[in-house]
């Protein structure tokens, strides 16, 4: 009787095990398929852009160097030089960095270290919400508020300018920088803080000499991701950039960054012109790749 019973239990268990193994296998297959889906999308997009964009330089007789360093972009005359746009993109991104990074970092430090809990509980989610606002709305805000403001106060003929782009991008990168940096700062062990305070160091001294350095790799990641956001932003920039094809020499110049060039002309371009827009995409993508590489290096260093 007892052995009969034991057998039944054993059978039941082995049946249960077989089912478990089946689901185990099945779910790992599903996970794999999902992972592959995103890798395949990436390869398709990159492959497509490179295939189209490389064509004029491979089969046509266009020089890649004069594409990069040429300063004239007149598709109707077969002139494709994107140097002004590269400069515009770099200036706009760096400008946004100069404003966005200090403001973002101080905000993150304030929220993580200084603000009363009540305040942080309201402000932190508000900033995260800022990240979810569609970028075209930032552009509309820039166009409706920042551009007229610049026009009136700097006496410009048109308020659409490099500085307008910088301001809009700086605001747009804030949520990225603040959220990631705040998380990094909060992750610094409390014991570091106590160790420093117990040595008679002030709270501000402790923050800048111990807490922030300990959160360095996370903060760098925040900055690089913010940069990526600024570099790739298109919609908001179109509305406030002015889109002139010149190499900007002052903050008040109207500019056309790489992203807006693609977005503005893709709708009607054909033939070589179209392919040159893809080539612009390659350049933009290379910048993003470099940023990601830097990011990977930074986070790898931090994780030792």
């Amino acid at each position: 009787m007892a052995t009969q019973h034991t057998k039944e239990v054993e059978q039941q268990i082995s049946k249960g095990n077989a089912r478990k193994y089946f689901f185990e296998k099945l779910s790992s297959k599903i996970f794999l398929a999902c992972a592959l889906l995103s890798v395949i999308s990436l390869l398709l997009i990159v492959g497509f852009v490179f295939y189209k964009g490389a064509n004029p330089f491979v089969t046509g007789d266009y020089s890649f160097l004069s594409f990069i360093f040429g300063s004239e972009w007149v598709p109707s005359e077969d002139k494709f030089g994107i140097f002004p746009m590269i400069v515009a993109s770099i200036y706009a991104t760096m400008g946004a960095l100069v404003i966005g990074v200090p403001v973002g970092l101080f905000t993150a430090i304030f929220l993580a270290e200084i603000a009363p809990k009540r305040v942080a509980k309201i402000v932190s989610p508000a900033i995260q919400l800022l990240a979810g606002i569609p970028s075209v709305l930032y552009g509309v805000f820039g166009l409706a508020i920042i551009v007229p403001f610049l026009q009136d106060n700097l006496g410009l003929a048109r308020g659409q300018s490099l500085i307008a782009v910088i301001l809009v991008l700086a605001i747009m990168m804030l949520p990225t920088i603040v959220t990631i940096a705040e998380t990094a700062i909060r992750a610094v062990p409390k014991s570091y803080r106590e160790g420093s305070l117990a040595l008679g160091v002030s709270e501000i001294g402790t923050i800048f000499k111990v807490v922030v350095p300990a959160a360095k790799s996370g903060i760098m990641a925040a900055i690089v991701l913010g940069l990526g956001r600024a570099l790739g932003e298109t919609m908001a920039v179109i509305l406030v950039a002015g889109n002139s094809l010149i190499i900007p020499t002052s903050l008040t110049d109207s500019i056309r960054p790489l992203t807006t060039n693609i977005a503005l002309e893709m709708g009607y371009a054909a033939g070589t012109h179209l392919e040159m827009l893809f080539a612009t995409g390659i350049v933009l993508f290379s910048f993003i790749l470099i940023l990601n590489f830097v990011l990977a290096r930074l986070t790898a260093k931090g994780g030792h």
């Binding site: 008679g200 111990v210 350095p213």
Partner: protein, 270 residues
């Protein structure tokens, strides 16, 4: 008149019996609340200069809490209220809000090493640098002196520029002590400094504490009865936030007056 004379005589007698040491920290009727919850009840202690005072007692009885009132680390916790009086060298430490000055005078070593992710040198030089000492030679000398003071100089003198986090637990704890010494404090508070260490490292830290006694007033929390007996001059037995008994260590461990103390030190509870 006669009464007064006897009183004076009594006081004199008391002073004679403890003439070897002067009072450094006087705690009078200290109560501490975490919000609604009271953690310390009417604690009064007279901690002597250049002695090691051990705080013992079961977990949760308020030893750490008491220790942290002495350098006001409890100020960092929301909702902590303190009443009563603590004076160090006759100065009420809760009278002014200069916690920075207090904490340079009263250093602290924690249960687990909390060295910063910097080099050994930078860890020890951190406190003095933050006080504005920039001169390289002065810092070098101070770092060496502090590391020697913590009996770890010979072990690390060739690797001062390497990360402090690469050292063993016991070495790290002695660097923590060096970091504290570098501030030239009068008082050093230690909260179970050896509880995370192996027996050999523990022994080294204990030897160090015994040596340091000639320069510093040390207050140490420990769960290790032998340790308290070995290194301390006075012992305070805490229970449920109260000081049950405070006396010379050999008295506490041989002829305690309170039954609860006897039960605890002989391991009958706790």
């Amino acid at each position: 008149m006669v009464m007064m004379v006897t009183e004076v005589a009594a006081v004199n007698k008391q002073q004679v019996s403890t003439a070897s040491a002067q009072s450094k920290i006087l705690v009078d009727d200290l109560n501490l609340f975490y919000g609604e919850k009271q953690a310390l009840f009417n604690v009064s202690l007279d901690i002597k200069e250049k002695e090691v005072t051990a705080l013992i007692g079961p977990s949760g009885c308020g030893k750490s809490t008491f220790l942290r009132t002495l350098n006001r680390m409890n100020d960092l916790i929301d909702g902590v209220r303190v009443s009563g009086n603590i004076t160090i060298d006759g100065e009420d430490i809760y009278a002014s809000n200069d916690v920075i000055k207090l904490r340079t005078k009263v250093g602290m070593v924690f249960q687990k090493s909390n060295l910063f992710p910097m080099s050994i040198y930078d860890n020890v030089a951190y406190g003095p640098r933050m006080q504005g000492i920039k001169n390289r030679k002065v810092l070098d000398a101070l770092v060496e002196e502090s590391l020697r003071g913590a009996a770890i100089w010979d072990e690390v003198k060739d690797r001062l520029k390497t990360s402090a986090l690469g050292l063993s637990g016991g070495q790290q704890q002695r660097i923590c002590i060096a970091r504290t010494i570098a501030m030239k404090p009068d008082v050093i508070l230690m909260d179970e400094p050896t509880s995370a260490l192996d027996p050999i490292s523990t022994l080294k830290v204990e030897e160090l504490i015994t040596q340091m006694k000639k320069d510093y007033t040390i207050v140490i929390v420990t769960h290790n009865m032998q340790q308290a007996a070995r290194i301390s001059d006075k012992t305070a037995f805490f229970l449920n936030g109260e000081v049950v008994e405070y006396d010379d260590t050999n008295v506490i461990f041989s002829t305690p007056k309170d039954q609860r103390t006897e039960d605890y030190v002989t391991g009958r509870f706790g």
